[in-house]
Symmetry: C2
Subunit: 215 residues, 2 copies
């Protein structure tokens, strides 16, 4: 197997679009979700993100990275204005529409209408959900941290409601995303389904890991 | 399909381990990697992380979330002491060992020895790589941000060298992680292989997305 080695300087010297595709691939498979928002004039917005990450379970917190010059700028404006947003998983049936929500639409155009994804509203959340998303949850904005190192913005939110099919929740709280049909992303644009290898027991020194069997 | 709805207060009232498993599942499929470090006494350390996320491509930056009270505390100490660390993808052949690196070993025990994963060193990086990892890269520490909201720590690093099989790099810079055998994680402990659906073209308003075909 021939291994390509890039040094730090070689990475910085790569052609810009090549580097973007290459660097975005390195981190491994990623969460890919649609973030639903609304502004004070009741204009809805939907945008694809691949930077969602878990920060903690108690309280339940997630982070999202925003690049201010991208199509996601309206999402950030809406979150700062209204304080809430929704996270909606993509499936094989919706990932092409989900990908299209990342196009640079005008402020007045809702990505819901532009892509044909239908809105859904809950009693406790003004931001719109994606009706067809199997796994989805609502977020309350908590903190904005400007990452001065490259001008991106970290938004931290708290999960304030969840909608999950009963059939996908195991007895121990694990949610079977594979059964829910959630897709994963690699690089900027490659979507994948998954095949479970196994769940592994909590690791302890000196005890070999075993497979978890839970209903 | 029966949908389970939890409100924010119901989420906070869930039994602790159930909540941890549930909340950790919500974000979608995750990157799962082994982080290699070394300290000034040349003790190596290896620890599994599922919080790696892309921050930017120019310069190439990634973030990692640390919980100070976990088995990852030695990793954080080593990064703060030496300023460098490695990121090593897991495959079907190594994910059980990779999972086991998250056990709470003593400071003097290297997870490399404890799990049987072999070290590999590059000319430009003092931190150890995992020899068997197909996709791996070296990081220079750049910034520590303490997330006061829940006591976790965000470590931002710059990618300073990469090792990728030539056969996995497409003409446009995309790295085929599926071909490299990289696994993905859901929840705290569920590992998956992937099956590609498609790569999609850069989204633009009014133009339907199409599949990308690149060598």
């Amino acid at each position: 197997m021939n291994i390509i080695h890039y040094s730090g300087n070689e990475l910085l010297a790569l052609e810009s679009r090549y580097r973007t595709a290459f660097i975005n691939s390195l981190g491994g498979f990623k969460s890919v979700v649609m973030v639903g928002t609304i502004n004070g004039a009741h204009q809805t917005n939907l945008a694809a993100f691949s930077s969602l990450f878990h920060i903690g379970a108690s309280p339940p917190l997630c982070g999202l990275i925003f690049r201010p010059d991208t199509a996601a700028r309206h999402t950030l404006e809406n979150i700062m204005e209204m304080g809430v947003y929704t996270i909606n998983h993509m499936t094989e049936a919706s990932y092409k529409q989900g990908h299209q929500t990342a196009a640079r639409y005008d402020r007045a155009d809702s990505e819901f209408e532009m892509t044909g994804l239908e809105t859904q509203f809950s009693a406790d959340m003004i931001a719109p959900y994606v009706a067809s998303s199997v796994v989805k949850f609502g977020m309350q904005f908590k903190q904005r941290i400007d990452l001065t190192i490259n001008g991106t913005i970290l938004i931290i939110g708290q999960i304030v409601e969840t909608f999950i099919p009963e059939s996908c929740i195991s007895e121990d709280g694990f949610v079977d995303l594979e059964q829910a049909g959630t897709v994963t992303l690699s690089g900027l644009d490659c979507y994948h389904l998954t095949t479970r290898l196994s769940r592994l027991t909590y690791p302890k020194p000196g005890i070999p890991v075993a497979e978890v069997v839970v209903k």
